[in-house]
Symmetry: D2
Subunit: 130 residues, 4 copies
């Protein structure tokens, strides 16, 4: 499981006084950095491979400016051309958001999904432990 620590920004709060809900998908994406680098080792966009297919987010508790958050990220399922990420945001021990994100291994040039290679699958499997 990947643990990414993020310090909330004033610009990520909203008029209600909490972190605005749109920053939860933004933080989740930030937590997937290590997964992105499995597909693009130097994080270069020249050979970017991943296309997002679906996200689902449960907002379970409020997030505040004051304390750092932990983004927990792991691999939930591995398919032939796609895989599902599980993710969770914790602040001061409270689970504030839970989600999934499904990506397809996509060839942006010929606009076709591509099979996950054995090497990629091995790297993803190493991230299935919660």
């Amino acid at each position: 499981m990947i643990d990414t620590i993020i310090t909330p920004r004033v610009s990520e709060t909203d008029g209600v006084g909490h972190i605005n809900n749109v920053f939860v998908p933004i933080w989740f994406e930030a937590g997937r950095r290590k997964i992105f680098s499995i597909f693009s080792p130097d994080l270069s966009f020249k050979k970017w491979k991943l296309a997002l297919v679906n996200i689902n987010v449960d907002y379970t508790d409020q997030l505040f400016l004051k304390d750092d958050v932990h983004i927990k990220t792991w691999i939930e399922k591995i398919g032939k051309t796609s895989f599902q990420i599980g993710e969770r945001i914790e602040q001061t021990g409270r689970i504030c958001a839970k989600g999934t994100a499904t990506y397809v291994n996509y060839n942006f040039r010929n606009k076709q999904p591509e099979k996950l290679s054995d090497n990629v699958k091995k790297s993803l499997e190493a991230l299935t432990i919660k």
Copy 2:
């Protein structure tokens, strides 16, 4: 159905060359403005009522910088204290994202969900026509 037109911003693209996926929930929230004003008529945060419970987004096609997008927003279901929004993003006639968002009518002071009033229900029902 509410139709909100948004002009994509350069800052909303990413290195792959398209609109980054995190801006889809941001645009969807922008499309809910008329619904927010049912609960807070002057869009003031002093008596803000709504707490987001869940979002689900299917990313069905790529979004580009060049053309305006239409955010289509309607009411899908109305419950006792909560309701579900249906939403869709279209660009040049293509459906690029489909989603739902579930909100609860929340009293931030006593931290309790509150029943939707008859007036609010009537206003929401007027938005159920797709």
Copy 3:
């Protein structure tokens, strides 16, 4: 002078209850779209030409969620390889922010500034009228 109308988003407010200051440079950039299309007519990134050199922003009044804003954008100065944009944000008749942005016509391949062509200069000059 270009007039771009933007509807503020809930996600652009902050805990103080106003539009957070970071969205002012974001809105200013949104107002430069027509200028970008002088350099990249189809707004494609394949031949993007512009590199930002400096921004200066005076925050003169508070911006609120409730009312649309007008982003006023014009050309202030035209140099050999660079030019300066003047810009202003108005809400309900109040001037809320004033700024400048300096761009250089940049060739990202050979990493050199390039002279502004006569055609480009003509298009920029047409935007100098306030």
Copy 4:
């Protein structure tokens, strides 16, 4: 001098392939967190004191997704009711942006600037060492 480390996000890049310029003011604001907590010790918005008056940013080099950035933040000048922050963004040893931000100690209730207290001045002075 405050040193804030930020890991760039995919959603902060743009179609040119670099970090989009609008995220520089966002990162600079993130770097001011310790200064905000001088005025609002628990980072609560109930007694928020600071209003931004001006920002100036020189964009001196390109920022990329791959490497962490250091936001360097210090106090440049202290006035009677206002103060100026100096700030700089470094990535892989390169200075990529330099800026200033001027804040006024503002009473949002009676809409008046307020003198900086001696305690606040002392805390700001401790941050003037570059």
